[in-house]
């Protein structure tokens, strides 16, 4: 049993949080995340939830409060975006190093300056090495489902690592779509209550943020790396089991779309994927063998998958909504390193910065460039900004 609703991805994610039944929600507003925590306050006011709702004075405090709650053995949630995420940066590594399975939503937004409230991936990708699992979603439905899956992944005893669920600012957070909301008993069947020994307990006193010097520090980090490696399998399992209980799944860490006999593929992450599917379909109608690879888990990165497609396609283009200045698109670097030794031609398309629309026209241009590249024609520079105001 479930119900349908026409809601934004922020609202859909809020339903996911409600259904995951956290004990504590710490909330601080920031565009474009605000309507998510507002919705969580509505649920409380309407008697549909019974979490403790903490109104804190900053994003740093939002994550610190969530950490405190988790240290008491509570399931905790918070959300932020852009400058807020950067401000809570210090607490992100506190949470991950101490292995507290908090789930947060980041409504992806550009970072200042120039000041901009619209969507791209600069905020989240700059937190790449914070020790958080990072999942990116394509639409409101996936936002709801992934928040629930995120708790399952984070709290797995072999993982015990926080998860950041990323929704594209405005393109998803403020765009309405039909979403299927599972009922509570279905989610309860999927997601057990949170139990942990990594908490304060008067019968077993411990410190939860100890100093670890050079003598044991590397071993701690090694165990975090092991947890991320274990998470790869757990993300797949969590998604598969969600499919069997709730009836929807997203192919785990990475999804192929029309890739079976494809000559060229685009690699996408987030809401761009939806538009790229439409373009791939149109190209297929015209006999062009275009495919699509959607990255759902950015950390852990699906390294084994990409290493396994080394010479499968003739050209691969990576769509980036962020760039590491002085190098290349952030996602491109990772895909390229997994493909080390491959003969496949590669290109990197930087688009959608600061909320600029990534239209079907722009995505068609990418595919056409890839077909050129495949045929040995000039496909342009390896790294290209597309959809620019001027050439």
């Amino acid at each position: 049993m479930s119900e349908k609703a026409f809601i934004s991805a922020n609202e859909a994610a809020a339903h996911g949080v409600r259904l995951a039944k956290p004990h504590v929600v710490s909330a601080y507003p920031i565009t474009p995340q605000t309507t998510l925590v507002e919705k969580l306050a509505d649920f409380l006011a309407e008697g549909k939830a019974d979490y403790k709702y903490m109104m804190v004075e900053s994003e740093h405090s939002a994550m610190a409060s969530a950490l405190g709650a988790s240290m008491m053995g509570a399931r905790a949630f918070t959300a932020s975006s852009s400058q807020g995420l950067l401000y809570m940066c210090e607490m992100l590594s506190y949470v991950s190093g101490a292995r507290h399975p908090i789930v947060m939503v980041d409504a992806n937004r550009s970072t200042a300056t120039p000041w901009n409230i619209y969507g791209d991936h600069r905020d989240a990708l700059s937190m790449r090495d914070s020790g958080w699992i990072m999942l990116f979603v394509e639409n409101g439905q996936e936002a709801l489902d992934t928040v629930i899956q995120a708790y399952r992944i984070a709290e797995d005893p072999e993982v015990m690592t926080p998860v950041m669920v990323n929704l594209d600012g405005f393109t998803l957070t403020h765009t309405y779509d039909m979403v299927d909301i599972p009922n509570q008993s279905t989610v309860d069947e999927y997601l057990p209550g949170f139990t942990t020994t990594n908490k304060f307990d008067l019968k077993d006193p411990k410190t939860l943020c100890q100093t670890v010097g050079p003598d044991y520090h590397a071993e701690c980090r090694y165990l975090q790396q092991k947890a991320f490696e274990a998470a790869k399998q757990k993300i797949e399992e969590a998604d598969r089991e969600y499919g069997s209980i709730v009836g929807r799944h997203y192919n785990g860490m990475v999804e192929e779309y029309r890739c079976d006999d494809a000559d060229v593929v685009l690699v996408t992450m987030g809401s761009v994927t939806g538009t790229a599917r439409v373009v791939a379909d149109l190209l297929r109608q015209n006999g062009k063998k275009a495919g699509l690879i959607k990255i759902r888990s950015y950390r852990p990165f699906p390294k084994e998958y990409f290493a396994g497609i080394k010479d499968r396609f003739k050209a691969i283009g990576v769509v980036d909504r962020s760039i590491s200045f002085g190098f290349e698109g952030t996602v491109f670097s990772e895909v390229k390193s997994c493909l080390y030794g491959s003969n496949t031609k590669l290109a990197n398309y930087i688009v959608g910065l600061g909320g600029r629309d990534v239209t079907k026209t722009v995505i068609s241009e990418m595919y056409l460039k890839l077909f050129d590249l495949m045929q040995g024609k000039n496909g342009g520079e390896e790294i290209q900004f597309l959809g620019m105001r001027w050439e």
Partner: protein
């Protein structure tokens, strides 16, 4: 004194299966004495000490014990800062170099 004593039976983790989880660990474990960087240590002249307790108040480590007949210092914790000697109004605490012939 209520400070924990050195736990001589403490064994550090000998493998990943014995590692502490995340950044958590049991409390009250003192695997070694906690006085690492001391060069000088205080010694009382009990003939002149009037137990005014200035040293007890000022000691930043809280390692001066007043429960016995005389004031004593827990050398597992004393860092040798010399504040007790400096504050003593009777100047009856001497700072003596560690590692003397009698040690």
């Amino acid at each position: 004194m209520s400070k924990p004593k050195v736990n001589s039976s403490f064994k550090p983790p000998s493998g990943y299966n014995e590692m502490f989880f995340g950044a958590s660990n049991g409390v009250g474990i003192l695997p070694t004495v906690n006085s690492g960087f001391r060069t000088f240590h205080p010694e009382f002249d009990y003939e002149r000490c009037i137990k005014c307790m200035f040293c007890w108040i000022y000691c930043p480590e809280g390692c001066i014990d007043k429960t016995g007949k005389e004031l004593t210092i827990d050398m597992d914790y004393c860092k040798g800062c010399g504040i007790c000697a400096h504050e003593c109004p009777r100047k009856c605490i001497a700072m003596v170099k560690d590692g003397g012939l009698d040690e």
